[in-house]
């Protein structure tokens, strides 16, 4: 027994330990694509803008002949409508943390091994979950439901499990003898070596870990370094390999980027489903529930839509939470093109542990039927979505001040004298003898200042070509008008009211 914890976070591989490693070979793709169920050929690219290369293709792209490291231009000649995504390292890091938190429901000993792998010590959990095969199946299915492709390896050492996972050797090695035999078959690529070490080993014709083990240790150490030898020892269990313990975050937050903008509720729910499953796993690990959570729907260039889901009593039942989301979304008008969803749950409350997720069924909620109904009703009536303010540097007044509340001062485009009150939509004015008339006011408008010419916005289809004037009405009201520079169909140049000076 070598269990010597250092300040509670260092673990040492012991004889009775069994590690399960989750290796995500297509993490960069899954992170960006797991919210979308459509099987379009899709790749993640990397490299300089003019020489983009494929990092990971999805299954549909592989079938069409696209492989990793192919030039993007070459890939595009194979698939015309190839969906190209750029790698998002921050999102990957967040995803691995989320997965680690989710894994907390199976063991209290979780460790982050590399940017694309998570380690679970499962020796102590085997009995609780009915043995190795059911546990493994539960984990695999759970990860798949979250939308990730995973390869698992099981071994008495962390590195051993990792290498087996990377090499996709599924057969568990439960003791050191089995481990040695299994590792011998692992190809060099499975070891995640530095490129110079890899060059040496490959360059002399070695192909597997076994090939390395056959060479004299000192000769190998001289060429590949002491760290390499130590790594082999740690993998085989001949040297200690302490691992830092993953600490569960205090609250839950997870984002899910969508590979293509979505405005269909069903597709959105597919993505949210994955987030809810993550939340449920996280809550299971903490033996907790939530009395509510918030969904944020991101739209390009706009303020995100916030959807709050409230529960009558705290819960961690994924199916129940998802039902609430569905009802609520049906009530919420969605702006076009959601490209990312986030789920945030800050209020985490202790909840009696359910036996295991395996035996959790819908019946356990039967008596709570009326509370669920109340929640659904509340969701239907719902409170107003909060919208924020956003100021855009744009010459077009209605764009520059879009969300600016009337009377409020914003960082406008210039020091130009702008009215304090701006109409969200310019108001078409009637005219007499080509002079504009103010609605509801008799009497004439006198142009005082102008024209100030604004011609801008061609790039987004909202090109304006206007001459603005400040004008005074006989009543003393000062207004901001513009006349379009181009005549309309009837040959008239139309006048609009756009603002009122305070």
């Amino acid at each position: 027994m070598g269990d010597c914890r250092a300040e509670g976070i260092q673990l040492l591989a012991g004889t009775n330990m069994l590690w399960l490693c989750l290796y995500f070979r297509s993490l960069s793709l899954d992170v960006l694509a797991r919210g979308d169920c459509s099987p379009v050929p899709r790749v993640i690219v990397f490299g300089p803008e003019t020489r983009l290369q494929v990092l990971v293709p999805n299954a549909a792209a592989l079938v069409r002949g696209i492989h990793a490291e192919m030039r993007l231009s070459a890939a595009q000649t194979l698939v015309d409508d190839l969906h190209v995504l750029t790698r998002d390292a921050a999102a990957e890091q967040a995803a691995v943390s989320s997965i680690a938190a989710w894994c907390g429901q199976f063991t209290s000993t979780v460790s982050l091994l590399s940017p694309d792998a998570v380690l679970l010590e499962i020796g102590a959990s085997l009995r609780l979950f009915g043995g190795l095969p059911p546990l493994r199946q539960t984990i695999d299915a759970g990860i798949t439901a979250l939308g990730y492709h995973v390869q698992t390896g099981i071994a008495p050492t962390p590195l051993g499990a990792w290498w087996l996972a990377r090499a996709n050797i599924a057969e568990p090695a439960t003791d050191r003898e089995q481990l040695r035999a299994a590792l011998a078959r692992v190809p060099l690529r499975g070891m995640a070596l530095k490129s110079d070490v890899m060059a040496v080993l490959q360059g002399v014709g070695l192909r597997t870990v076994g090939d390395c083990l056959r060479l004299p240790r000192d000769a190998l150490a001289r060429r590949c370094g002491a760290t390499f030898i130590n790594m082999l020892d740690r993998a085989l269990g001949d040297a200690p390999d302490p691992r830092p313990l993953f600490v569960l975050p205090p609250y839950f937050t997870s984002r899910l980027p969508l590979p293509a903008a979505v405005d269909d509720c069903a597709m959105l729910l597919f993505a949210i489903h994955r987030l809810v499953l993550e939340l449920a796993g996280f809550l299971q690990a903490r033996e907790a529930g939530v009395p509510g959570f918030v969904l944020q729907l991101y739209h390009p260039g706009q303020v995100p839509t916030t959807v709050s889901i409230g529960l009558v009593s705290a819960s961690r039942d994924a199916a129940h939470l998802l039902r609430l989301v569905r009802t609520k979304l049906e009530q919420t008008p969605l702006p076009d093109g959601v490209h990312e969803v986030a789920l945030v749950a800050r209020d985490i409350r202790p909840l009696a542990a359910t036996a295991t997720t395996l035996f959790d069924t819908a019946e356990t909620r039967g008596s709570d039927h009326w509370t669920a109904l109340v929640e659904q009703l509340r969701a239907r009536l719902g409170d107003n979505a909060v919208t924020g303010l956003q100021l855009v540097a744009d010459h077009r007044p209605e764009r520059a001040w879009h969300y600016c509340a009337p009377g409020e001062d914003g960082p406008g485009m210039s020091d130009a004298a702008r009215p304090l009150w701006l109409l969200v939509e310019p108001l078409l004015l009637r005219q007499r003898d080509q002079r504009p008339l103010l609605p509801g006011h008799h009497g004439a408008l006198t142009l005082q200042r102008g024209p100030e010419r604004i011609e801008s916005g061609w790039w987004d289809g909202g090109d304006v070509m206007r001459d603005y004037f400040a004008a005074r009405h006989d009543d003393g009201i000062r207004v901001w008008l513009f006349r379009e520079r181009c005549p309309d169909a009837t040959g008239q140049r139309r006048w609009f009211l756009h603002g009122i000076f305070g």
Binding site: A219, A393, P451
Partner: protein, 1021 residues
């Protein structure tokens, strides 16, 4: 009555990322609007003024030369030149500001302008936004100064106007109107916004306040101006314009004077040098014909006062020769008898029996043109000599204007419109190299875009306009301008990207338009190769062969050329040339001159090739449409082939005057970039018809003119190139080992990669020996064989990833004592890990440690012990590693050295490609046979002249096969055509004598076999 108006503040697209119109467009538009004058005031630049000047002369508009500056510690001002002196001062200010900053930037402070800029007018921009301190400085600094009133429909023009008028009154300076013009018409607004975004490196949507609020910054109609301005500020513009009397026509080039010894006249000195050279060339006295020629030329040169130009070129050539740098002149004046005597060229008019159109500068009124090619690796020495001799303030390189091409425009516009990197990349690649200028809707659809969507329509329009816009100034490859006095008073000089290098702001067209002379100091790889080959031969055989002494008219050499056995030979090694050689069968030097010139876009587009061949083969009678035409075309059997013949034809057959012919020549050189050939078309065809010539003939001549474009070959160029072609062919024929060796040592150059050069040498019986750390030098070398013939030893320079310094240390260490083992090698040559790895990859250690795997194991061990155990190798047991498979070795050979001395990859794959013929077998097949062949794609080529055809060269273990892919198939099988590394072709064999092509009917990409070969061999041990 419309007011008179002169626009005094106007930037062209040479104010990069701001100006949205060409200078020519601005000029034409200003003339149409009836402006009194237009000032081009690019920001700290005169790069656009020559174009504007040429256009203004044509449009009859008065042009003012000026420039806009944003002072670092002061306001924005415009300076306008009033006269030559003022122009010189302006040019000097720009030079100073540009030289003070890195390439493309400038830096100007108030202190730099202290005391004003004499003979320049100063205009203060936006005085209403300028601080009191700066206003006072401006008013105090400039004697003739104005406050500019630029009313552009801003938020409150009235307030602005009143403010500026008050300021003007306070400082007792007049106010004048101006338009801050960025484009010739309002319609360029979108492009102008895009340029702003490109400058900021962001999207238009995100550019916000940096964009102009409206499209007012264009050349406005005078009636509009009359509504905006009071009469006084408009009248003031005209008053300013009348004070500016300077025209670029006043610039006169003044030659450097120091080349003439004291007491001599330039003419006398040139005559002296020419006569000395004549004695050198013809020790027994020059033929009388030559003497008369020289006399005639000297008189001409003297009349036109071009002596200094010839003396300048002569001086440069003399320097090169003193340094043993091979060089050769070309260009119309280079092939004069005078230049031959001065040693500028080696094309001997007497020996080659050529009918040179002796330099005809008087008739054509063009400045003499001499380009000198130097060995490409030593050109820098010549450039440094020029800088040193004349000083940096008197010598500078001409600029090359880098313009937007389709791809760069597609990218920049795409980015500005907010497209993703991947989309932009796809757009940029959407047009294949054979699609021509326009972006085809179909291509965009293929690339997954909807060409009719609003975004794509905007994108297409913008890309089309932006294409051809200047992006930045770069240095010309070697066009030097040398002045008698300070160059920066003639044209602004700015920093180039290379440190210590400066360029002027004008390109070669600008210089030519103003009649300024430049000397082209160019680099030519073949000269390097020839010098090296001669040195290798002389060294190996103990003789002293010189370029000029290579035997002329060698039958074996011409025979080789006739069989198109010309891999590596200068100019005649391309696919198209090789296809022509067996038909044209050059047998004399002049045949080579024609060969060099005929496989060019001009004659091909003018359909002159086949008539010439038929006449040469006696299949068609040699006739002339008239006696005058006979005079022009007799030496080319009645078919125009050279550029000057076509120009001459325009004169004798279409009645062009000398001036018109000269204009035609200029238009010809520039029309691909600028257009402007149309007026000549009618004139030429009508002129020839009037004089009784066949319209078809006239049309062919015109097509040929279009084809010449930038690539036209005058006879004089062709002759200079033909000489190098002959000499390189002679070397290849008689000294193949030395020739291949020299070519390898001069890479990169020419048409073929080292792999093909080595294959070719081996096919010619040259023994090629592998790179070996125990014997190889840095360069490839010749080694003595037992039969005393040379073998070619590959040099360390071919080892990919090995530094030059490391190679030098290896050779030095080896000279002291041979290497005993890897450790010894690493120690004594102080090699780092990367060097050693590179040597192992090249299999260069085989003599010390055996095959690659063993060597790699050894080397890895050596490296790690170096810092700890400096003196001796660690003793360790020997481990046996299996040797690599042949396929694996092949892969590493190619990756490291770029070639293999083992079997050709196709030999290894032949089992799987049994159904395909070898290239050698093609010779046995009849014309029209169906044939299937496969090989490594070593070359894809689309000659500019052949409409949409792609030539593909395939290499297999027996040689090469030439494939022709017609446009339809190319479109249909783009992917295979462009991406296959191992390509199989089924098609039809076509032969004409020795020339064999396969017309492809279907392409098949077998590249995966190369991949599998790698994998299979990896699994195989």
């Amino acid at each position: 009555m419309l007011p008179e108006y002169a626009e005094l503040h106007c930037v062209s697209n040479f104010t990069f990322q701001r100006g949205a119109s060409h200078a020519e467009e601005l000029v034409v538009c200003a003339a149409e609007l009836g402006y009194t004058a237009l000032a081009i005031t690019d920001e700290c630049s005169l790069a656009g003024v020559v174009r504007a000047h040429v256009a203004a002369k044509q449009a009859g508009l008065k042009l003012i030369i000026g420039s806009e500056f944003q002072l670092i510690d002061g306001p924005r001002v415009v300076l306008l030149a009033t006269n030559r002196h003022g122009y010189g001062n302006l040019s000097a200010v720009i030079t100073q500001a540009r030289r003070a900053a890195r390439k493309g930037k400038y830096q100007l402070c108030r202190a730099d302008l202290a005391g004003g800029v004499p003979d320049c007018l100063a205009l203060l921009l936006d005085p209403d936004t300028v601080s009191k301190e700066h206003l006072a400085w401006f008013a105090a600094t400039f004697v003739r100064a104005w406050f500019m009133l630029e009313l552009l429909r801003g938020p409150d023009d009235d307030v602005k106007r009143i403010h500026i008028e008050q300021l003007a009154a306070r400082y007792r300076l007049p106010a004048a109107a101006a338009g801050d013009v960025h484009m010739h018409v309002r319609q360029r607004r979108a492009l102008q916004d895009v340029l702003t975004a490109i400058g900021l490196g962001t999207t238009v949507a995100a550019s916000g306040a940096a964009l102009h609020a409206s499209g007012e910054r264009h050349l406005r109609a005078r009636e509009k101006l009359a509504r905006i301005y009071a009469p006084a500020p408009l009248a003031e513009t005209v008053r300013i314009a009348t004070q500016c009397t300077f025209s670029l026509d006043e610039l006169r080039y003044e030659y450097p004077e120091e080349l003439v010894p004291p007491g001599e006249t330039p003419a006398g000195y040139l005559r002296q040098l020419t006569e000395a050279g004549m004695l050198d060339r013809w020790p027994d006295g020059a033929p009388e014909k030559v003497q008369r020629l020289i006399e005639h030329e000297l008189v001409l040169i003297s009349e036109l006062r071009y002596e200094a130009y010839f003396l300048t070129v002569h001086d440069i050539v003399r320097f090169a020769r003193s340094q043993d740098i091979l060089c050769q002149g070309r260009g119309s004046a280079a092939n004069s008898a005078v230049c031959y005597c001065l040693g500028i060229t080696a094309v001997d008019p007497a020996r080659m029996e050529m009918l040179f159109e002796r330099f005809i500068l008087k008739e054509r009124g063009e400045p003499p043109d001499i380009d000198v090619d130097f060995e490409h690796e030593r050109r820098e020495e010549v450039i440094q000599y020029i800088y040193q001799k004349y000083g940096r303030d008197r010598a500078a390189l001409a600029a090359t204007v880098i313009t937007y091409r389709y791809r760069s425009a597609a990218r920049d516009v795409g980015k500005a419109l907010g497209m993703s990197a991947a989309q932009v990349d796809r757009l940029a690649r959407s047009r294949a190299w054979w699609d021509g200028q326009r972006v085809l809707a179909e291509r965009l659809r293929e690339a997954g875009f909807d060409p009719d969507s609003a975004v794509m329509r905007r994108w297409r329009t913008l890309v089309e306009v932006l294409t051809g816009f200047p992006r930045h100034l770069s240095q010309h490859v070697g066009g030097f301008v040398i002045a008698r006095d300070a160059l920066h008073r003639l044209v602004p000089v700015e920093n180039a990207a290379m440190p210590e290098r400066t360029v002027i702001q004008w390109d070669k067209d600008d210089l030519e338009a103003l009649g300024l002379l430049k000397v082209d100091v160019l680099g030519l790889g073949m000269l390097t190769a020839i010098r090296r080959a001669l040195a290798l031969v002389n060294d190996f055989r103990g003789q002293s062969l010189r370029l000029a002494a290579v035997p002329a008219g060698d039958a074996a050499t011409y025979q080789m050329i006739q069989h198109a056995d010309t891999v590596g030979v200068f100019q005649i090694e391309s696919r198209a040339q090789m296809a022509m050689l067996p038909r044209l069968r050059p047998a004399t030097f002049y045949d080579l001159v024609i060969e060099v010139a005929i496989v060019r876009p001009g004659p091909i587009q003018g359909n002159m090739v086949h008539p010439y061949l038929r006449r040469r083969q006696g299949l068609e009678p040699v006739t002339y449409p008239s006696e005058q035409v006979r005079g022009v075309l007799e030496r080319t059997l009645g078919v125009p082939i050279f550029q000057e013949q076509v120009i001459k034809l325009a004169m004798v057959a279409a009645g062009f005057s000398a001036g018109e012919a000269d204009a035609l020549r200029r238009a010809m050189a520039a029309w691909k970039r600028k257009g402007g050939l149309e007026p000549f078309e009618r004139r030429l065809i009508d002129g020839m018809r009037e004089r009784g010539y066949d319209e078809q003939f006239a049309r062919r001549v015109f097509d040929q003119i279009k084809g010449f474009g930038e690539y036209g070959f005058p006879e004089s160029h062709a002759a200079s190139f033909a000489l190098l072609a002959y000499i390189s062919a002679w070397l290849k024929c008689h000294e193949p080992a030395a020739f291949a060796c020299a070519l390898l040592n001069s890479q990169p150059m020419g048409f073929y990669a080292p792999a093909q050069l080595v294959q070719d040498a081996r096919r010619h019986g040259v023994e090629v020996r592998a790179v070996n750390v125990c014997v190889s030098d840095y360069d490839c070398t010749l080694e003595q064989r037992s039969d005393h013939e040379p073998a070619l030893r590959l040099g360390l320079r071919l080892v990919n990833g090995l530094s030059v310094a490391a190679a030098a240390r290896i050779v030095a260490a080896r000279c002291q004592q041979p290497f005993v083992n890897t450790h010894d090698l690493a120690q004594r040559a102080a090699l780092n890990r990367k060097d050693l790895a590179a040597l192992v990859a090249a299999n260069a250690l085989s003599d010390i440690v055996g095959h690659r795997r063993a060597a790699r194991w050894q080397v890895a061990g050596v490296e790690a012990t170096l810092p700890l155990v400096p003196a001796q190798a660690v003793r360790e047991s020997v481990i046996e590693f299996a040797r690599q498979s042949e396929g694996e070795e092949l892969v590493e050979d190619y990756a490291s050295v770029g070639l293999t001395l083992g079997r050709h990859p196709l030999a290894l794959l032949r089992d799987r490609l049994k159904d395909y013929r070898c290239s050698r077998e093609l010779r046995t097949l009849r014309h029209g046979s169906a044939v299937q062949i496969a090989g490594l794609v070593i070359c894809r080529q689309r000659p500019g002249s052949a409409s949409g055809v792609i030539f593909v060269t395939l290499e297999d273990e027996t040689g090469v096969a030439n494939i022709i892919v017609w446009r339809a198939l190319a479109e249909q099988q783009r992917r295979e055509l462009l991406q296959a590394r191992l390509l199989a072709v089924s098609g039809e064999l076509q032969r004409e004598g020795e020339v064999i092509h396969i017309i492809a009917h279907h392409l098949h990409d077998h590249s995966h076999l190369l991949g599998r070969l790698v994998t299979a061999s990896r699994d195989f041990h």
